[in-house]
């Protein structure tokens, strides 16, 4: 019977090509617009690391920096160098990551390639474990490299392509700012969206070029780039050592906590720490200690511009208009075939069956609309990529989104079509059988 209904739907669509095309176009455009906006929104608000987002925490130790809060009206969730050094190695977290982004000039051995600047992240090896960075070759450096501040480096896939033509470069040496680093690994593509582990700078921007141990910070004297450094001014000296010693917040510290109890313990530890630090004249007056897991943190940082929420609303209203449109056209279409329905009813088709037949027809329209919507959505995403290159990482279709689009299309079309289909099946069969 389903096949028969499908065939009837096809005949019916063919019979009124303009009406059918209008309906499919209306649904397609509605779904296309909704999907485009929705995909951008979903990717921007989505959980970047679903498996672990509830266990990864970062915190704010707001050392009375209100006056430097900047235009965003909130304390930046960074930590000062002194505090990071003091707080690292606590036994509460399972694992932890400290990192900040800088940049440095790479001098390829190959004289053909001119020296170039590349993003360089200073991190401990916990960074790779915490954020599940995939490796193409080799691995992260050893704990020993961290503790002894060895000159080792992990390259991104793109940088490895550029420096070594994409071959396994583990064990080779790279000249960065005049220091030779030994490659221990090459990461595969790694682009969580948004780049939650570092929310200052451009969060939807590209990922890192290379990584070197955080413990090299005092030696390399690489300032943070592409992000904020918040300082309380003082009249200490102006060397890098003085800077590290200053009341500045700029480093990201994430910890992996097993459960709620550990979260509470960690928060308590932080509070105790600030109280303890008061003996050195720090954390005087009012200050703020807060802890966030990934999703809380994204919310706190208000990464999503409310303009996108507005667009979601508008896109939804757009879909409603498209569906109203389809609804009207379905009414028109169905009432145009009262005669045929009456004949079929006379020939023994029950209301339920008639209703099912119409539902199949509506579903066919829905699927067609969904497919058209997907085509339009991919076009929309392409246009977005074209207009705004930094959406490159954000905008792409995957199986999940494709199924959502089709499902959304079919479900919304079905809901739209239920009433016209029901109405048409209520027609008394006798009315249209007499000579017209």
């Amino acid at each position: 019977m389903f096949a028969y209904n499908l065939r009837l739907s096809w005949l019916s669509l063919k019979k009124t090509p303009v009406l059918s095309a209008l309906m499919i176009a209306a649904i397609g455009i509605g779904i296309g617009v909704c999907m485009t906006v929705f995909i951008v929104y979903a990717l921007m608000t989505g959980d970047p690391i679903p498996a672990r987002s509830g266990h990864l925490y970062t915190y704010v130790l707001d050392n009375h920096l209100d006056e430097d809060r900047g235009p965003n009206d909130q304390a930046d969730p960074f930590v000062g160098y002194r505090d990071v050094i003091n707080l690292m190695g606590s036994d509460i977290p399972v694992d932890e990551s400290v990192h900040y982004q800088s940049s440095a000039v790479f001098h390829p051995d190959n004289a053909q390639i001119k020296p170039f600047r590349e993003v360089l992240r200073l991190a401990n090896n916990g960074f790779f474990r915490l954020f599940e960075v995939p490796f193409l070759y080799g691995s992260a450096w050893s704990d020993e490299a961290d503790t002894k501040a060895q000159f080792v480096i992990v390259l991104s896939r793109a940088l490895n392509d550029k420096l070594f033509g994409g071959v396994n470069s583990v064990g080779r040496k790279v000249d960065v700012d005049g220091h030779y680093f030994e490659v221990t690994g090459v990461t595969d593509d790694f682009s969580p969206i948004p780049r939650f582990f570092e929310t200052d700078g451009d969060v939807f921007d590209e990922t890192d070029g290379a990584y070197v141990p955080f413990s090299l910070t005092p030696q390399l004297k690489l300032a943070k780039s592409n992000g904020s450094v918040n300082c309380i001014a003082d009249s200490k000296g102006d060397s890098w050592e003085d800077f590290l010693d200053q009341e500045c917040t700029w480093i990201h510290h994430w910890v992996w906590l097993k459960d709620k109890a550990d979260r509470d313990r960690y928060l308590q530890m932080l509070k105790n720490y600030t109280v303890d630090q008061q003996q050195y004249g720090r954390y005087q007056g009012e200050y703020e200690v807060e802890i966030f897991n990934v999703m809380e943190f994204l919310k706190y940082r208000e990464l999503v511009n409310p303009a996108y929420v507005m667009l979601i609303g508008i896109a939804f209203m757009f879909l409603v208009v498209c569906l109203l449109n389809t609804n009207g056209l379905l009414f028109a279409k169905f009432s145009g075939r009262a005669g045929e329905i009456s004949v079929r009813r006379a020939l023994g088709c029950s209301k339920k069956r008639m209703f099912r037949q119409h539902l199949v027809e509506i579903a066919v329209i829905g699927v067609a609309g969904g497919v058209l919507g997907l085509i339009l959505a991919s076009g929309g995403l392409l246009a977005l990529k074209h207009m705004f290159p930094n959406y490159d990482n954000v905008a792409h279709l995957n199986v999940e989104l494709v199924s959502i689009a089709i499902l959304m299309s079919v479900v919304s079309t079905m809901i739209t079509g239920l009433y016209p289909a029901w109405r048409i099946c209520q027609l008394p069969p006798a009315r249209y059988l007499k000579a017209q």
Partner: protein, 412 residues
């Protein structure tokens, strides 16, 4: 004319008319708000930024071989750039203006350390060529003198003795009093001060695209300090201003000249000021484009809906129309019937839509903290929808008017 019979005919067959009216209502609500939101953003992007945007470009350079005497390096570069024909002037800057990364600091008008007393300020560094190199207009006071410029380490939190700030910044700090000659207090507890020696026309801060109330309020809080940074992780930033129309020629000439001065260097992040501004307003442009497309498509869809339903009614009423014609209706009477019907539908739609537009506006107002809707957009939207309706129905109505009267007596 014959409004009552049209109404009662619609009442007999209400589903179609109700759907079309609802569609018109939704469309009006969205179109009116979209026009408003687009205009809010266009106005925002049209605000003066205070610098000579079309003729400025920026670059960042760093020696690949460590140099002794960064000050010499920068001064040599500057001299070379300024000597190029077509260059108006150039200056080292701390960060590119209105280009994302920035320095924001807090300043007070007096010794009172209360939190509320701090004003957030976008601070940038220039040398004595800065005003010229950026095309900033000095309103009162004077420019920095060469002897006031200090070359300093990036990590140094040194303060200058003098500063130049915008009119708005002056008003934010001192109200109606002239800030010229006053001292401003840096955001630490040591009450370090600097004297305001110049007041410039408003220059937009780096957060000029911010939609937060605080960001909007402080958009012109901008201050120049007579510093040149000599130790930077990302190289030294230069702002270069060309004579009108000479920008492209200047850009390649500058690059060539800089490599002549010192071949062991990187030149990177070359951005025209226009590019930087466009990047700052990226989200705004995205919103404008998406809103225009969505509102435009919505209008098209609604028009198609009207065409579709009208064609259908015309087909259904073929005999009825024939009968009317047989009874003496002229072609234009039939045309008028359908157009009147559509005007009535649009009227229902826009009445409902006006309420919905207001409701949607309230929701957006709460969400985006945008200014109140200018009621002038509503009549514009209503007129658009009336025109749209009449245009959309005209085709089917004309077709209806072509139906021959003879059809009434024929069996279909």
């Amino acid at each position: 004319m014959e409004i009552r019979p049209i109404l009662s005919a619609m009442w007999q067959n209400k589903t179609g008319p109700v759907l079309i009216s609802l569609q018109i209502a939704f469309t009006l609500a969205v179109v009116v708000n979209a026009m408003f939101l687009i205009n809010v953003r266009i106005e925002k992007m049209d605000r003066p930024v205070g610098i000579d945007t079309p003729n400025i470009y920026n670059l960042s350079t760093v020696p690949t071989v460590p140099v002794e005497g960064v000050r010499d390096f920068i001064e040599r570069d500057m001299a070379a750039i300024r000597s190029i024909p077509g260059v108006v002037d150039a200056s080292p800057v701390l960060t590119f203006l209105q280009g994302g990364s920035t320095r924001a600091e807090g300043y007070r008008p007096n010794e009172d350390l209360a939190d509320a007393n701090y004003r957030i300020v976008n601070v940038n560094f220039v040398d004595e060529h800065g005003l010229d190199a950026l095309g900033i207009e000095l309103l009162r006071g004077r420019n920095f003198r060469k002897d006031e410029i200090r070359y300093l380490d990036a990590n140094e939190r040194a303060l200058p003795d003098v500063a130049i700030l915008t009119e708005s910044m002056g008003r934010d700090l001192f109200g109606d009093e002239d800030p010229l000659g006053k001292d401003v207090y840096y955001a630490d507890e040591e009450n370090r001060t600097m004297r305001v020696i110049g007041v410039i026309k408003d220059v937009a801060a780096a957060w000029l695209a911010s939609d937060s109330p605080r960001g909007r309020k402080t958009v012109y809080n901008f201050m120049l300090q007579p510093f040149v940074e000599t130790k930077s992780g990302r190289g030294y930033n230069y702002a270069i201003r060309a004579e009108p129309g000479a920008l492209n020629a200047v850009m390649s000439e500058v690059e060539k000249k800089l490599f002549e001065v010192d071949p062991n260097r990187l030149i990177e992040r070359t951005y025209t000021q226009k590019e930087l501004l466009a990047r700052s307003y990226g989200t705004d442009r995205a919103v404008i484009q998406i809103l225009s497309i969505v509102a435009g498509l919505m209008v098209v869809i609604t028009a198609l809906g009207i065409v579709g339903l009208a064609s259908f009614t015309v087909n259904q009423r073929t005999r009825q129309i024939g009968t009317r014609r047989a009874l003496g209706a002229k072609r234009r009477d039939i045309l008028r019937y359908f157009i009147t019907e559509n005007v009535l539908l649009t009227t229902f739609g826009v009445v409902l839509g006006s309420f919905m537009a207001y409701g949607l506006h309230l929701a957006l107002f709460n969400l985006l903290r945008i200014p109140k809707l200018d009621p002038g957009y509503l009549p514009v939207g209503i007129v658009v929808l009336y025109l749209l309706g009449v245009l959309a129905v005209f085709g089917p109505a004309r077709r209806a008017s072509m139906i021959p009267p003879g059809i009434a007596s024929r069996t279909v």
